[in-house]
Symmetry: C2
Subunit: 248 residues, 2 copies
Amino acid sequence: MSSSSAAPAAKPPMREALVAAAFQLFLERGYEQTTVDDIAALAGVGRRSFFRYFPSKEDVVFPDHERCLADMTAFLAAGGEEHEPVRRVCDAARLVLGMYAENPTFSVQRYRLTKQVPGLRAYELSVVWRYERALAEYLRGRFAGRPDGTLRADVVAAAVVAAHNNALRSWLRSDGLGDAGAAVDHALGYVQKAFGRGTEPGASPVRAAAVTAGEPAGPGEDVVVLVSRRDAPLWRVVQELETALGRC
Amino acid sequence: MSSSSAAPAAKPPMREALVAAAFQLFLERGYEQTTVDDIAALAGVGRRSFFRYFPSKEDVVFPDHERCLADMTAFLAAGGEEHEPVRRVCDAARLVLGMYAENPTFSVQRYRLTKQVPGLRAYELSVVWRYERALAEYLRGRFAGRPDGTLRADVVAAAVVAAHNNALRSWLRSDGLGDAGAAVDHALGYVQKAFGRGTEPGASPVRAAAVTAGEPAGPGEDVVVLVSRRDAPLWRVVQELETALGRC
């Protein structure tokens, strides 16, 4: 965003004024019928001032995505080995939701506008693609060296974006009523269950754990609980069992 | 596709000639430096003939996607209740692969071109989006009435497309060498393992236990739960397990 280096602490009022003027005209006349000159005039500035803030008319419709993409990239880069990767990308996706939920009225207006204007739909697809690539790149780094690392990264990133957008769009369709955060948490929870640690499709079909029943007693009182997919190979089940029993 | 009703049995030679002329010029001069007039002239027809086959210069780069989308929609519509939904959308995605694998040289040329021209990248994103929506719409129908039906549909569709494209792009990057079909099968297998019948993240562990206790289900569908005292002899545990697995 060309303006961010000039005023990093807060959005410049002129930028906000241009966005407000643009949406006022889009709603009154329609997107196609509004020119950049119209927007600049309503905001009380010249055409060149508009282009100082936005490269094109389309960009004024999505004024916060560049900042949000930068925030997301920084958030992912700040993550360490201690962060479970799938959870981390889910948290990164929540930054996008935060941007929408910050201003429900504006988000709903934009959603309706985007549905009507094919050019804006295409723009939005390219933005969504950039979010998805940011998540996938992070996951590719975290999954490097694992079998199917890039496949897993791409699939999880796509699933996270799809889940996020499913919940976001439901919220936008409901005019921004209801709890967007809870809806997105639920949707992302579905993806975490499918792909989070210990539930990867490639993970062992067998789980075994030693459980101490009741009060601490002698070693012989512990119980081993083993859950296995019925089609798991027997050797795999026994191996898991031996580990849980502490006998190998 | 405007031409498909005129000649449904085979691609009209003129259409192929226009595609061949276009790619010859794109490779020689670059995409931006080639006009529709140039393409038409090389193919020996007028500008109007070009537009009879393709709405724009971008469309000549992706001459088969409309047909493939129609094939995919028809394939999904022809499916019945007996088709496991996740497998069905994986099979539908294989139709797209088939289109690419039919003509590796052309597919690799287009891949390189698309990477260089942002406008084509945007076009491709919109095509990918349409494939993903076709898969998601089918799954929404199949998952209707299930909890989180639309969420599940959108996530699975996105995962299938991401897996397909991960394998497809690896193949295109390797200049169309190697077995594209096997790579895509492997990638789609990963998604089927994550989301196919019996492995849904939403499947309750209580239900899984009831399946084991009740009537036998399909292979891989049920789960064996084993509880053992930790000091039980291993041979005794394995014997118990073999009985539960039905393997002795």
